[in-house]
């Protein structure tokens, strides 16, 4: 199976993190990609790295996989420097986007990556786990989008890694293909593997992670269990018709944002709809046609990242 091979000797050591970033900064010209990120990932964790586009997720992953070096701060991987190839022997990584080698067959690509590891998963076994056995002799460029994505995740697991980094693993996949991938990743996690997943989809992070790190504008703005983060971003929308200006509602308890639609409806985004409505009534503010509905996950996430603006 695609389980990590935990050699005796380093499992019994202390709780040193598998990967860590310590006050890491990174700039490109005048734009700051990471502004002091500190993060630790321990064995057995399943961490979801969440953030809007351009938040710095991919840069952080580039640093952890040794492709880039930080301007200041320290990046450690298995206690070593990720720029040293040997440090990356226990790391598995899936590239973002469809980065397959166009002219190699699926089998050749798997065997090529397997050739970098001491004890790779047998190619046939890996292809079977990911439903790619029939495609073994096909050139990668001729695979469907879903097959390419499954291949890239399979490549991350071929070396029996202790830590797997997945950058947007299921973007653009249909439900079936996504379920296949999620099943494989859960199996890897249940066998003791450690996962770091980036996505801008809360749903994917929720399905696979036990801990969520929200990153925005180059800093970590929230770090906690899925439930903790969900309670922080559990926002609702209270909407009604009124003649009062939007500013009159911002002072309501737990209100995060107030907007007015083109049709004249005022919407209050709140973290506690009950408390907000209770206060709305008690203050005697004029309103009609009251509706309360939960915000979508996306809206909740936007509320979190918007609120933490500097």
């Amino acid at each position: 199976m695609t389980s990590p091979s935990l050699a005796p000797g380093h499992t019994c050591t202390t709780t040193a993190p598998l990967a860590s970033a310590e006050a890491v900064t990174k700039s490109f010209g005048k734009s700051t990609a990471l502004a002091g990120v500190t993060l630790q990932i321990h064995a057995g964790e399943s961490v979801g790295l969440l953030g809007p586009n351009g938040a710095g997720k991919s840069i952080l992953i580039g640093l952890l996989s040794g492709l880039r070096r930080p301007d200041s701060g320290t990046i450690r991987l298995f206690g070593g420097n990720p720029s040293n190839p040997r440090t990356r022997l226990r790391l598995g990584i899936t590239p973002q986007a469809t980065a397959v080698p166009q002219n190699l067959t699926v089998g050749e690509a798997v065997r090529f990556v397997a050739g970098h590891y001491p004890d790779p998963v047998p190619t046939a076994q890996l292809l079977m786990d990911f439903g790619l056995l029939e495609a073994e002799r096909k050139q990668c460029g001729g695979l469907s989008g879903g097959q390419q994505r499954r291949l890239l995740v399979a490549l991350a697991l071929v070396g029996r890694p202790e830590l797997v980094i997945l950058d947007e693993p299921t973007t653009g996949l249909d439900v079936d293909a996504r379920e296949t991938l999620w099943r494989q990743l859960r199996a890897y996690r249940n066998a003791g593997g450690t996962l770091l997943i980036t996505s801008h989809y809360l749903e994917e992070i929720q399905a696979l992670s036990s801990r969520i790190v929200v990153i925005d504008r180059g800093t970590v703005i929230a770090d906690g269990t899925v439930d903790e983060i969900r309670s922080r971003v559990a926002v609702s929308k209270v909407s009604f018709e009124t003649d009062l200006p939007p500013s009159s509602f911002l002072s309501l308890p737990h209100a995060v944002d107030v907007t007015v639609s083109d049709s004249g409806r005022t919407t209050v985004v709140t973290q506690d709809a009950d408390a907000t409505v209770r206060e709305l009534v008690q203050r005697g503010l004029a309103f009609a046609q009251l509706e309360v509905h939960g915000a979508t996950l996306e809206e909740a996430f936007l509320a979190l990242t918007a609120k933490e603006q500097p």
Binding site: G66, L67, R86, R88, L89, N103, E108, H116
Partner: protein, 270 residues
């Protein structure tokens, strides 16, 4: 791979040799799957031989002139294989997200570089074969050896010299590949390749050049490579300045290639 007990992970890591083999195999497979790349680098020198040399009976009847033509087309093939493999290949790799993924694997830069070098050498070598075979069949070149005028060891010796003469063009390819995007690299490589080949006397012998072109030609790396290649096979026509010229170009282009590669890595690793 042994399946025995492995005490630590790092001891069991694939050897550098095995990584080089893995990368060479992948690069060869990728290149061979693009038939046009194979055909153009392997068949092109042979075509030039058929069109420019074989119809001239004055050349084909003279063993030494035939050998000179074969040698200049051989180094022409080597130059083409190196320039295109490195110029276009490196530029394509830089734009390809797969190669950035490969850099995140537990492997240093060396196996990839050597894999490309072996691939380039093999293509260069493949381009030599049709020229040698056609030359042996359609010209009087073999007479120089059968008559005892030239020793047989000159043939393997010349093959090695030809491949070495390609090194300045390998460096030029690296320089182009690290500076240009892949589309620009294709154009630049072609623009550089044809004048270099022609003015270097690889398609028509320099004897047929007007004086001004011959003078210009003597300063080109392609001319120096051509003269040395002809000398390796026939033992004729080598001036000391040829070696100086080729070494000078090797240094200049090598330095340019290293500069471009450093600059490029600097940008990517920023």
């Amino acid at each position: 791979m042994s399946t025995g007990m492995q005490t630590t992970t790092s001891n069991a890591a694939p050897s550098q040799f095995s990584l080089i083999r893995t990368h060479t195999k992948a690069q060869l497979l990728e290149q061979l799957r693009i038939p046009i790349a194979v055909i153009s680098s392997v068949v092109f020198p042979a075509l030039v031989l058929m069109f420019f040399v074989v119809p001239q009976s004055a050349v084909t009847a003279n063993p030494i002139a035939s050998l000179a033509s074969i040698a200049q087309l051989a180094v022409f093939g080597v130059m083409s294989a190196f320039l295109f493999n490195y110029g276009v290949g490196v530029a394509e790799d830089r734009a390809n997200p797969w190669s950035s993924y490969v850099r995140s694997l537990p492997v240093g830069a060396l196996p990839g570089i050597l894999g490309r070098a072996v691939t380039g050498m093999l293509f260069a070598f493949m381009s030599l074969l049709p020229v040698l075979i056609l030359g042996a069949l359609l010209t009087s070149a073999p007479d120089a050896f059968t008559s005892g005028d030239l020793p047989w060891w000159r043939i393997p010796f010349a093959v090695i010299v030809w491949l070495l003469c390609g090194l300045p063009f390998l460096a030029l390819g690296l320089f182009i590949g690290h500076l240009c995007t892949s589309k620009v690299a294709v154009a630049v490589t072609q623009v550089v390749f044809f004048p270099l080949a022609f003015a270097g006397g690889m398609m028509l012998p320099p004897l047929m050049f007007p004086d001004w072109l011959n003078t210009l030609s003597l300063f080109l790396p392609s001319r120096a490579a051509r003269d040395l290649s002809v000398f390796a096979l026939t033992g004729e026509g080598l001036e000391p300045t040829t070696i100086v010229c080729l070494l000078a170009w090797m240094l200049v282009l090598g330095a340019a290639a290293i500069w471009a590669a450093r600059r490029d890595q600097g940008r990517r690793f920023r």
